[in-house]
């Protein structure tokens, strides 16, 4: 199962169209700005990148993760696909 790294909001749109429905997503960098308008589940967000930008993940469907959890997700999934526009 693929893991999708989403680096910005346009990348999120491109990814959503082309991912299998169960594939997990990690939002990072400007991708965390998508955290308030998510569709579907199994979405994670790099907490430090949200904090940097003043984004709270409290009301978001995205699960906050740190780099150790990020690594663990890459261990579980292949390929790891990066999306940025």
């Amino acid at each position: 199962m693929s893991l999708h790294l989403v680096f910005n909001t346009a990348g999120y749109e491109a990814c959503l169209k082309r991912k299998l429905s169960d594939d997990p997503i990690i939002l990072l960098g400007d991708g965390v700005y998508c955290a308030t308008q998510l569709e579907g589940g199994n979405i994670h967000a790099l907490e430090i990148d949200a904090q940097v930008r003043g984004m709270s993940l409290a009301q978001s469907k995205a699960k906050p993760i740190d780099y150790d959890a990020f690594v663990a997700l890459t261990e579980l999934h292949s390929p790891v696909v990066s999306w940025a526009e």
Binding site: L5, L28, G29, D68, V71, E75, V80, S82, W83, A84
Partner: protein
């Protein structure tokens, strides 16, 4: 597991370095290994030796070099590097430039080194600009 990482963004134009560095540090903490970090596209600018870090900001070059001290290979795409002015002493001589610009601990390599690192690794993770 064995990882190959790619850095696509330039410093001050992307978070590519911060992402790649923190991810690499987490890999090493968890006792994974890193086959190679490949600097591609504008990522080659990460290896410029002439960069000066503004006061109060993190010295990214020093952080890359610390990774190298842990045995991680920092490989800059040679085709992408030399056309953008990131050259080592050999290339400086070859193209008769006044000074080299590749920071210590980085090497210039061909695209074959990206592909072979991908082939030798269990995972390939790309950090976009």
């Amino acid at each position: 597991m064995k990882y190959t990482l790619a850095i696509h963004g330039a410093p001050y134009a992307s978070q590519s370095a911060q992402h790649g560095l923190a991810f690499a540090e987490a890999l090493l903490r968890q006792e994974h290994s890193i086959e190679r970090i490949f600097f591609f596209h504008e990522g080659v600018y990460q290896a410029l030796s002439t960069r000066v870090t503004p006061q109060g900001e993190e010295d990214l070059l020093a952080k890359w070099q610390t990774l190298s001290n842990h045995g991680v290979e920092l490989a800059v795409c040679i085709a992408g590097g030399i056309k953008r002015g990131v050259i080592n002493e050999d290339e400086r001589k070859r193209y008769e430039k006044n000074s080299n610009s590749l920071a210590e601990h980085f090497t210039l390599v061909g695209l074959g080194q990206l592909i072979s690192a991908i082939n030798n690794a269990d995972r390939y993770v790309e950090f976009s600009a």
